[in-house]
Symmetry: none
Subunit: 245 residues, 4 copies
DNA sequence: AATGAATGAGAATTCATTCAT
DNA sequence: GATGAATGAATTCTCATTCAT
């Protein structure tokens, strides 16, 4: 007789200081499966799932992970509470899906904005513009990721690492091309760029938005210029501080 | 965008029937008063308050703000649950006191480590060393501050602004001294440095610690070198890229 | 740094087909400890705990384990919902405590009623009278124990085994005294007596009560007589079927 | 005693807005009708119904009534969730059908095993063998019936009464034949036998199975012997305690 | 006949805060 | 000053049942 009960109940556990590592069979953004049936979603299911993710983005961005509740998400999405659990295992699980989703999209936004650059500095400027534009439109990215440390550390790391990976590859290519200082450690530089962009975005987009009430859809040009001057110096190479040479 | 949250209800204050939220003479780190009596604390009281703050640092650092509970803090501090409310108004209030306290101490640690520097780059290196040393010893700084956004946004801003203020002043002085690129916007540069230091510290101290299980008490020298090379280039001035001159 | 979070969270797990084995350090009826603080209860605490147990007996007896809810128990006990968790870990845990408690008391009631018997048959009659009287007063015993199989199998077994243990010892003593058939297997006989008493009690006390609406406080004499005739024959020995010899 | 439960709400029927609880021509085991169409089932429908009942037996036996869910039953049966409601009104209704079904089959198993007995004691031994063999193969019988008290009390009573009826008739016949003690109350004796068999089966088949992991397909002979010795004495008559004659 | 997405009432449990001792 | 029992609002998650396809 095979056991009827599930092998090792993966269901949520109320009082769990450190959240469990995300299931490796976790639905990805591209090929989500129903946690209820374990089967791929129908078209109708995919639409409902997307509405939930969008609602989660709004609600998490406004209230943060902890103040947000599943009821609020489902109300915002216009579905019943129970419907949530047809698409996500738990509050944490939609959180993780959301971070992955935002990460996919911000990287998309960045690479689109970098296309056509003829040197690394132009590429950087484009990348940051893409990043900031996305930030302006999707404040959830910041707010949610910065909370992620205690909600799902692996997901937070994944988010940063994916972006840094792209940066590192770009910097290495630029070094090979002699486009930037070849003695720079590309990985450390990538983390530096990531952090620098994060705080500049926070300070000059999110806080600006909160202060004025109106949402700037991009960063103030003089800030971007100053920032690029900083980065240009940091990366070195032929484009640097031309006037000073 | 319509507000998702109900009426006003600023942050995490579940059921607060009678007393208004006014902060009666906001206790500072230096001159704390009892929220119960409204009078300055006795010497014994000060000691209990400090034990609670230290316990909060440990507990918040390990569990995060939300997973932490007042009971855990008081148990860790070795006092009774009710005692907590003789010293702090609420969970949020000890959180804010803790952030302020950590902020005071990290800036102290930074300025001590900068003393004696003969130029801006040396000063920066010292400052970051102080910052990273503090980070290694007090991981709560990161974990708590990054959660602060939804717990007490003003406190989070205060934390960053205080540090950036110091940076900005230092950079302006260095510009006056001709020590660094005088065309750089000192405020934007200060935010860049802050962000850069934050992510490098997170990546190369906290994550390293988590991965190895053992806590490095400082950042790996080659990372600091690489980072300083990046910063040196960014700030420009006589010390930069000597070979290029 | 010692870990702040508990070693292995013993807290309830929603979807758990087979309940976990009861904690060996489980509070006993005599020396209960608070699951919240882990310390022995104060006098006030003991009183509250007893009120909860009594309420649980009433509510479980009327509604059964599953239909009963903790809110109903606490309402019946006149305490707030949260108070429950100062005394019991979970619904299952008060259930187990209740079964143990009822078991202690039914055995007490049985041995009191057996005292003074001069032979085994008299002792059996007394024991069953005690058992049925307790049953009439505490219908929870039946209803709850029969449900226990899926709630806490160990507790159900413990209940039966404790009673059977007493029976077995009594039968063995009676065999040594030549009071009953010495070739009888005392353990099998003990289980037989247990089962026989259970169904007779169910049929002639509980169902009678339900049918008439009024609660008989004891079993009908002719049923007890018939039952004792059956048992007398089963146990054999000098008292058996005297007229037939 | 005041009622704890709200108004009427007989048993486990959570939210039932419109349709009255009347059972439209209570489907029997032999002549089931569709609760959807109200018409007798086709051959295909009968097969699906049987698969659902078999699945219910497995699932209820392993998890118990409350822990079991309709989804699990339908998954086990290999049909879609909605299909369930084409054959049964509710969870309670398949439960009742299952108990009736098991009752039919266990009585069948008992009377087959009694056929050919030449006296009452032989008949009893046969009957119990049939009962225990069925128990070993269909543990659901015990587990489900013992839970039935709070799910469907009438069904539980029906189950016991049907078996006891058979016993009573058999005992009366044996008394007329002078085969057993004629002064015994046959109904009380029948309930005694029923209870005795129930607990012996539970202890020596079900618990043995749980302890060893392997399922004994019958009761240990020495236990059956001891039990029959007990019963033989109880029923009295010519076959009893030969040595004493 | 069969399907399975959607529903929403209900349950257990947590924890910041109060207040009588 | 200190204590810790009591409170109850709020949260996450489950699952029997419905109904459009």
């Amino acid at each position: 007789m095979t056991s009827i009960s599930e092998p090792a109940q993966p269901t949520g556990d109320p009082a769990q200081p450190t959240p469990p590592t995300s299931d490796p069979a976790q639905p990805t953004a591209d090929d989500p499966i129903s946690p209820a049936t374990g089967r791929p979603l129908t078209k109708r299911g995919l639409a409902t799932r997307r509405r939930l993710l969008e609602a989660a983005e709004d609600v998490f961005a406004e209230l943060g992970y902890h103040e947000a509740s599943i009821v609020k998400v489902t109300e915002h999405a216009g579905v019943a509470l129970g419907t949530f659990y047809l698409y996500f295992d738990s509050k944490q699980s939609i959180f993780e899906a959301l971070v992955i989703d935002l990460n996919d999209r911000v990287r998309q936004s960045m690479s689109e904005a970098m296309a056509g650059a003829t040197n690394r500095i132009e590429a950087e400027r484009g990348g940051f513009e893409g990043f900031f534009r996305f930030t302006a439109k999707h404040p959830a990215l910041y707010r949610v990721v910065r909370e992620a440390e205690f909600v799902s550390p692996e997901t937070m790391r994944l988010h940063y690492e994916r972006i840094v990976e792209g940066y590192t590859a770009g910097l290495q290519a630029a070094q090979s091309a002699g486009d930037i200082d070849t003695t720079l450690d590309p990985e450390v530089a990538a983390w530096a760029l990531m952090g620098l962009g994060e705080l500049i975005g926070m300070r000059y987009i999110l806080w600006e938005r909160d202060a004025s009430g109106t949402a700037p859809d991009r960063i103030a040009p003089h800030v971007l210029d100053a920032m690029m001057q900083f980065i240009g110096g940091a990366l070195g190479g032929p484009h640097t501080r031309k006037g000073a040479e």
